[in-house]
Amino acid sequence: MEDNTKIIDFILRLADNSLILGHRISEWCGHGPNLETDIALTNIALDLIGHARNYYELAAECKGDGSTEDDFAYLRDARSFKNVLLVELPKGDFGFTIVRQFLFDVYNFEYTSQLCQSKDTRIAGIAQKALKEIAYHLRWSSEWLIRLGDGTKKSHDKVQDALNDLWMYTDELLLADELDQFIFDNGMGVDHKLLKNAFVTRTKEVIEKARLQIPSDQWMQYGGRNGNHTEYLGFILADLQWMQRAYPGLEW
């Protein structure tokens, strides 16, 4: 694979994570448990979609064939999306959304922190801008995880169940494959050993504070980053893409 293609694939992974999770969280808009959390979730969704746009624009620039951010978001099929499985799972109840958000926020915060040092100044620039928003996402979801985990028996059980269901998707966030290694070796990416250590330390700290248990010895699930998705991604893309598919080039 040519280097430029590798860089584009690397950027698309970041963009796809943000777009798909942003879309998932946006499903809470108008359906939040109360007005304040509804607005908070919608703010986070908008932040993530903003990050996705920045990365897609950069990918389009690298591709240099006249592609735009919209081509990446609206005209690729499920197999071409490279987001992790964690972000495409249905939103579930509020507890599930909070646990998923917390796990992703820890990863995203630690990952993006490292990415700020990327030798590619365009990637570093996007990361630095995004990190301030991600830091708030992490604060928000940590706060809620502690409240629910250390809340009533019902809220505790609900988030513990969600944590048990979601933990198997965490290793996909942390494991480096050939592409990650190539990007890291070229000074543009992230040291996944550091990432994993930071992820483990930070999740443990908050999860203990929330009086929850990390499930032990779980089978880990992978696939999204290679285009092998759950059945749920197709439905998201149908929602997202139907208009561009039905009316190609439509603008408003």
Binding site: L35, E36, F94, R147
Partner: protein
């Protein structure tokens, strides 16, 4: 999850350094920390503020609007406004 049992908070936002905190509205939150976070999300999402105060609504003591006489005495006493002084030109805009 319902927030019907959460107390009501009054939110004050300072828009920039040197200005007063101004009442922005009220919202529900379980405690002061959540009230600050909620206020950040509800009232500063268009870059309205640099500082937030939250006060539980129950701690606000208000005057009774029925008691009209309360402000009666201040009416018609225009000499309490500092409008009878000539400001020297050198002072400029005040």
């Amino acid at each position: 999850m319902s927030n019907a049992n959460w107390p009501l908070w009054e939110i004050f936002i300072r828009s920039k350094a040197g200005l007063h905190h101004k009442h922005a509205g009220s919202l529900r939150a379980a405690d002061e920390k959540m009230a600050i976070d909620n206020a950040r999300d509800v009232y500063t999402r268009r870059n309205e503020g640099i500082s937030i105060w939250v006060v539980q609504s129950k701690h606000v003591t208000a005057s009774d609007p029925e008691e009209g006489d309360m402000f009666e005495s201040a009416k018609g006493k225009i000499y309490r406004h500092p409008t009878f002084y000539d400001i020297p030109d050198e002072i400029g805009h005040m």
